[in-house]
Amino acid sequence: MIRDAHILVRALREPASVERLDGGQWSELISIARAESLIGSLAHRLADVPVPDRVRAVLQDAIGAHDLARQQALWEADCARRALAGYPGKIVLMKGTAYVAANLAAGVGRSIGDLDIMVARDALPIVESALLDAGWEWVKPDPYDDRYYRDHMHELPPLIHRERDRMIDVHHTILPLTAGPRPDAQAILDNAIALGNGLYVMAPADMLLHSIAHLFADGDLAGGLRNLWDINLLLRHFSEADEEFWTELDIRAKTHGLGREKERALRLAARLYDTPVYRFSAGQTEFADYLYIRRLLARDGYGRETRKLIRFAFYVRSHWLRMPPLMLAGHLWTKWRKGGKPVG
């Protein structure tokens, strides 16, 4: 039985490596890829490799499912565009929706959940009321959570559309306001690139740094292999398209205060996915890199989460990153008192 997700990383990195798998190993690879939301990416990656018939059918199912996800994501983005037609500022698509809207390799076969957009912070009230008028509603009608989002987060509390049942996250920057790094949101909006349909995506370096910030300066690395795969594909694409890209990336990383995170992302992408990176942009290997890799690969051949201790450590770290200690204590106290129920 396979004890970590290395088999998936290897299959993505060297598709030909799957030709040696037996039936049992295929089942394990498929379970791991599904659990890591990478089955669609894997399916496209293995399109030209000979695989057993049943595996081909499984991969074809994944391609079909992600084609539909892509279509739905673009439709949802267009719904938001129409709802915000009266708003004169830039509406910037983020994450998966941006990758498919901009036709990037990172969007091919990628699973996409919510619609993420970014607008100027001072425009939030206008944008919010336009979305409410167009059928979106609050998901969490809890006064503490609502206040918390508005005071400390990088996005509005999530909204869900009452008919289509799809969520939208409206961001005004790319990291929580309580996090260490303070990215320059205005610079991101200023440099955003028009798609031609009235919507925007971030400029290459910003798009990549958002993905990096999300993985290394925000959450607990859940779904990290997928996120790092995005980073790998974006790095390859942007650095091939523009030889000045590495310089641009370094400059933008400084602008946003994400220098260390950028270096770690480059090192781990190179290590796991063989991404060709500019060595001087990647910094020195650290012991912590080893812990990140242990955490990223913590999945066994049944698709189960493994390495509970290191998972928990990264979970604790994610809260630490988001909040100064005193604030974290207050937050946990409030959450505990409520026992998960709304107050107020």
């Binding site: 039936g23 089942s27 199912d61 084609d67 539909l68 049944y302 698709g303």
Partner: protein, 289 residues
């Protein structure tokens, strides 16, 4: 982490790996699926996982959480005594959420002379019991949970998993089916009393053989016997509700379903006893093209 026990099962076109931290549910599965051929080369489409709800629930009042490649949040755990039910629910969940090679209709189906009768309806309509009964009377059982509509040919593929008998249907089937084809009785499950019945051998040996859909019924138990015509729009809408993957299949699902509604004669059927239902079905079947 601890190794899990596992078993691989092939049902119709789909193959499953069931992994469990306990032996008991897998031993029960192995006994009930003994006539089924295993998947070739150990290749499977889906993995189902049966794990403790909380770590200590492996030993103390063991409770089974249903997980796997595809899963839903908030599925209530089941006691270990209902582990077999958990495995079956896990397999259904994989099909409902992950299968895209057919349009899935929540329906039972039986076949005669290469033509399929499909029965769909709400829980309690009797579609499962009717298919099990007809299977004892010269029809080939094709499935009591999902009818798989081929997106290209319009044929129905069999998915003859264990027949899930509930409450009174258990007694009714015990009078006609051999005793060694029944699984353990599980009482007080979320769906009442449940006992699984192994389909007749012919159904298992021929589980790769599709059939042309020839008649669609919407049975309803507990009303005076009657057959009623239905409008195409109603049939279509009710089938979209009976399908678990209609939306996920997009245009391909729409095309397959509109063709099905166009071509397959359909009736609503009320009945109060199995005998009445059999009579009504025979009368329709002898007249159907």
């Amino acid at each position: 982490m601890a190794e899990m026990h596992q078993i691989r099962l092939q049902i119709g076109p789909a193959a499953f790996r069931i992994a469990s931290v306990w032996r008991q549910p897998l031993d029960q599965l192995a006994a009930l699926y003994r006539d089924y051929p295993g998947p070739s080369d150990h290749m499977v489409d889906f993995t189902v996982r049966l794990e403790p709800d909380k770590p200590w629930r492996r030993y103390i009042r063991p409770s089974v959480h249903i997980g796997g490649d595809f899963w839903l949040p908030d599925v209530a755990p089941l006691p270990l005594g209902q582990g077999l039910l958990a495995a079956e629910m896990g397999m259904n969940l994989q099909m409902a959420l992950g299968w895209r090679r057919h349009l899935l209709l929540h329906a039972s189906s039986v076949e005669k002379d290469g033509r399929a009768l499909i029965m769909t309806g709400l829980s309690g309509s009797g579609k499962s019991t009717l298919s099990a009964m007809l299977a004892q009377k010269g029809w080939r059982f094709m499935g009591d949970e999902f009818a798989l509509l081929n997106l290209d040919t319009g044929d129905i593929a069999p998915f003859p998993r264990l027949i899930s008998l509930k409450n009174q249907a258990i007694r009714a089937m015990q009078t006609v089916a051999p005793a060694d084809r029944f699984g353990p009785e599980m009482t007080d499950t979320p769906k009442g009393d449940i006992r699984h019945l192994v389909p007749p051998k012919a159904a298992i040996y021929r589980m790769g053989e599709p059939a042309r859909p020839a008649l669609l019924l919407f049975p309803r138990f507990g009303h005076d016997p009657e057959l009623r015509d239905m409008g195409q729009a109603e049939i279509f809408v009710r089938l979209t509700q009976a399908s678990t993957n209609y939306v996920a299949l997009g245009e391909a699902g729409f095309r397959a379903l509109t063709r099905f509604v166009d071509q397959v004669p359909t009736r609503a059927m009320d009945y109060q006893s199995i005998e009445q239902a059999e009579e009504l079905i025979e009368s329709l079947w002898s007249r159907s093209p």
